[in-house]
Amino acid sequence: MLTVRRILQQLRHDPRTVGLLLVVPSALVGLLAWSLVNRPGDFATLGPRLLGVFPLTVMFLVTSVTTLRERTNGTLERLLTMPLAKAEFILGYAGAFALVAIAQSILVSALSYTWFGLAHQGIPWRESGVALCAGLLGTAFGLALSALATTEFQAVQFMPAFILPQLLLCGLMVPLGQLPATLRYVADVLPMTAAVHAITSSQTDLYYFEQFAIMIVYIVAALVVGSATLRRRTK
């Protein structure tokens, strides 16, 4: 995968971005742990759920800005005049940022279970799986939505429009059972809700399977849309 390597090389030359990608989520979870120090049970429920929220948000932002840059600086047009398979481009982004999402989740979980004092509850592979899927969700939607933006400023504006409604409805703010019926239907099928559900403890295997299935369907659909936005010919 040439494109995976190229994107990782770009990141390697930009240590500050890598630092932010790794440090900010860990620091936020740490802050949450600290702020809940006087309410011991709460961090145990809230902490793990953020594992699904961070990769989705961060990868969405990073991917939409970097691919928009490719669209505007001419590199994408140049690649499309070459024998580049669209899948190479799309999967290159998905692959590179999936690796970053995994690194991010390993660091966040490691710190949560040691320093921040989170008690083990789930199985680690499920957490990594959620972080990976959430990262891929962010990347896939970033690729697709970056086609709608014409400037980096607009791309950044998509973040609140895409992420905040999901954050409001994913069950972190208001328990899903207390939402009005219509909103409940919407919330149940949002990608971030699935990521948060997949991490909650003591559910059946079928339940987890459903949540992962929802995320994977969204990832595939958004990647397909993203690859459809790579037009070789413009008006």
Binding site: R6, L80, T81, M82, P83, K235
Partner: protein
């Protein structure tokens, strides 16, 4: 490879019209370019040079007329490794080194690292191989972009203002490179604003507002306008033509 297809035209454009939005940017252009020709594309800013080049690469939609490159309709998948393109604006990754850029693009073209180094050699960037593109000067960046176009020695080169921002010595080197590759059968279409460079071309295409005003040798341009230099000839032709 070039010789057994020598009968084929490098470019064959007939009654080409291109609309961008409401504006008719190219109006019924007709011209041909043979293998091994070095053709200069000149015209005032906004006359449609870049649009024509993008059309020949198949990334710009054609409104009517036809455009063929190396015997195929422009945009045909088989042309994607046979045309070297340098866009106006550098179209390389600023956050990669020179060599990483060339290695990535040569990988996409199915070429090996040796070809990447060769292209770097032609544009004289060996000393900067491991420098980030962001740390290069404007002229150095455009040489990286040119090197990407030269990867794999394609039989047709389409270069949009490749010598912008270069000093006279480098410009001279690059024009010598263009002449050398045309001797090997490569066709080169170069746009430029520097009229003195017109003398280096075998033929000139002059466009204004999307129309072809002139299609002949540099000597014929001087003869037809009665001008002493190319700048003067250009101005006379652009202003004088109805």
């Amino acid at each position: 490879m070039a010789s057994d297809m020598a009968h084929e035209l490098a470019l064959d454009v007939a009654q080409l019209r291109v609309m961008r939005g409401r504006q008719e940017v190219l109006r019924s252009l007709t011209f041909e370019v043979a293998r091994g020709e070095l053709v200069g594309l000149l015209g005032p800013s906004g006359s449609g040079k870049s649009t024509l080049m993008r059309t020949l690469l198949g990334v710009q939609r054609i409104t009517s007329g036809t455009a063929r490159a190396l015997g195929e309709r422009v945009g045909a998948p088989s042309l994607r490794r046979r045309i070297g393109y340098m866009a106006q604006g550098s179209a390389i990754y600023p956050d990669l080194t020179v060599l990483e850029n060339l290695t990535y693009f040569s990988g996409i073209l199915g070429l090996d690292q040796a070809q990447a180094r060769r292209a770097m050699d032609i544009v004289d960037l060996n000393l900067h191989a491991h420098r980030l593109v962001t740390s290069l000067s404007g002229g150095e960046r455009s040489r990286v972009s040119l090197a990407v176009a030269l990867l794999g020695e394609p039989p047709l080169l389409i270069l949009d203002e490749p010598t912008v921002g270069l000093d006279p010595v480098l410009r001279e080197d690059l024009w010598s490179t263009f002449s050398r590759v045309t001797e090997e059968g490569t066709a080169v279409l170069v746009s430029s604003h520097v009229m003195d460079e017109a003398a280096r071309c075998g033929r000139l295409l002059l466009i204004r507002e999307g129309r072809l005003l002139f299609d002949d040798t540099p000597a014929a341009l001087l003869a037809r306008t009665g001008a002493r230099g190319y700048d003067e000839a250009f101005v006379r032709l652009i202003k004088g033509a109805p």
